[in-house]
Assembly symmetry: C2
Homo-oligomer: 298 residues x 2
Amino acid sequence: YKMVIACTNQKGGCSKTTTAVNLATVLAEGNPKMGIPPRKVLLVDLDPQGNASTSFGIDKSKINRTVYDLLMNDLGEELPVLEEYLCHPEFISDQIRATWTSMYPDKKCPKKLKVENLWLLPSNIQLSGAEIELATRIGRETRLKEGLASAIDEFDYIIIDTPPSLGLLTINALAAANWILIPVQTEYYALEGMSSLMNSIKLIQRRINPHLKLFGIALTMYDGRTGLSKFVADEVRKYFEDQVFQTVVPRSTRVAEAPRDGAPITLLDNPHVRGSRNKGSKAYWSLGREVHGRVQKI
Amino acid sequence: YKMVIACTNQKGGCSKTTTAVNLATVLAEGNPKMGIPPRKVLLVDLDPQGNASTSFGIDKSKINRTVYDLLMNDLGEELPVLEEYLCHPEFISDQIRATWTSMYPDKKCPKKLKVENLWLLPSNIQLSGAEIELATRIGRETRLKEGLASAIDEFDYIIIDTPPSLGLLTINALAAANWILIPVQTEYYALEGMSSLMNSIKLIQRRINPHLKLFGIALTMYDGRTGLSKFVADEVRKYFEDQVFQTVVPRSTRVAEAPRDGAPITLLDNPHVRGSRNKGSKAYWSLGREVHGRVQKI
Ligand SMILES: Nc1ncnc2c1ncn2[C@@H]1O[C@H](COP(=O)(O)OP(=O)(O)OP(=O)(O)O)[C@@H](O)[C@H]1O
Ligand SMILES: Nc1ncnc2c1ncn2[C@@H]1O[C@H](COP(=O)(O)OP(=O)(O)OP(=O)(O)O)[C@@H](O)[C@H]1O
Ligand SMILES: [Mg+2]
Ligand SMILES: [Mg+2]
């Protein structure tokens, strides 16, 4: 069963990228002790900001093909060969280790700081032209879906990080996906944002992709010291009930520092290696297990 | 001298709305003891999420005209009369007090919890259709500029809150503005985002609005406990030098809770009334003074 998950919310800074990146890492590398089997995962960076690519320490000058090239590919009858646009696990691992080493030149890079089952379709600033360039093209909403078609059977999960908007890029993600995962920061503006997002999803289901379903809602950046996080979390659970994951991702400084070290927190602080101590990492490993559990029940 | 300031950054959740809302409030209400004279200020909510409007406890069902109607207005030769679309200080004050009272029913609403010199051009979810509807219209980039034309001489400041994107709405803001203020969250992804934003501004200056200038960069959500905030702040200052405001806005829970109380933190915790104790409020009052200082030097 093919899981193509769009990680989407038009609200800015609610942890779409951090969630997409860490969930992809956890599901790819797996942890048998936690009941998470390793799987072949493709992470698609569909944001011109390219934050998902940055989260793996990717040196963008070393990338010659990005998701922009895939979307703009006009081969007529032929579909583009996705393989040619992807960063392989070996390349990603090199980038992670190079960035980590430049941050900690006096330390030895941990052997386990690498990925074996994670592929990345990267993005860079060129993608910011895509929405305007695609606006008048035929099949402008399904370019990503077509682009993924040649390799969709090769991956167990395809996770798509989207920009904070409901523009043509996000619509491409929602047309290509069969599931949507919504990260929600437990702060006040999130509540109003949720209802407008649910309306947009209905429109997409009606006009563009009737197969799109809500996979789940992940509460992120939870700050236990304030009543606000609890208030927002309770409101979201009241309305969405068990569509909300049990796992709540807490705010943790190390999570924000991780991109500087060139790797997701779930890789820097890996329960495989020595039991994760960071509460953000713990939460994302736990979210991965919950996601795997839900997939089993589909 | 007319100050039309777009509060802009394509990075999500970097405090555009919180900065636009609090800066507008401080500049409008003023504080003579701090050397900030009260001024007539218009806050334009140009984000379909409508967070700026929400920050004043606005009940959107009570709004019959929004910035969407202003942008879509097609009167041909005539420019729309901006007056008819605005929320007046009295209306905003009513909404603030009504929301605050519903949060604290057993308390007496503070007399000073109101605004006297602040106008709001509100938005709601209808605006999410604007980019697509405007895409094919004549003068699609200058609709906001035209909409503001009839009243531009009535206000000392017009502050525009924009969505986290460089789409048609933000472009309308940057075409209408003569200044851009960039809020930058002191976390890692901000650094990469800054260089692409500066490139976009150059393009706008060349093709759409040669009068647009950088007013300043505001460091936001600074977390003193982590080395990351200091690292990012130092990098930004190194590159942009004194274009960066001296005032740094710290992360503070009360700032995130303020929208729930129906008012900006600078109004809930007002140095006029009793000396602001919240560090977020203090910082925004200080930023207002710095902004006023820079305007004097223009
Ligand atoms: N659990 C967490 N604890 C602390 N910081 C976090 C956490 N999750 C994310 N962050 C930080 O918060 C900021 C916003 O997160 P992120 O960029 O993942 O959100 P986003 O929704 O992808 O933003 P955008 O809307 O711009 O795409 C980033 O600096 C990130 O490092
Ligand atoms: N100084 C601060 N301390 C604590 N929380 C803050 C601070 N500034 C903003 N916030 C909170 O952080 C979140 C993001 O801020 P805000 O919505 O202003 O950013 P934004 O750039 O306008 O987001 P978007 O890109 O979605 O428009 C909000 O929940 C807000 O209440
Ligand atoms: Mg992101
Ligand atoms: Mg905003």
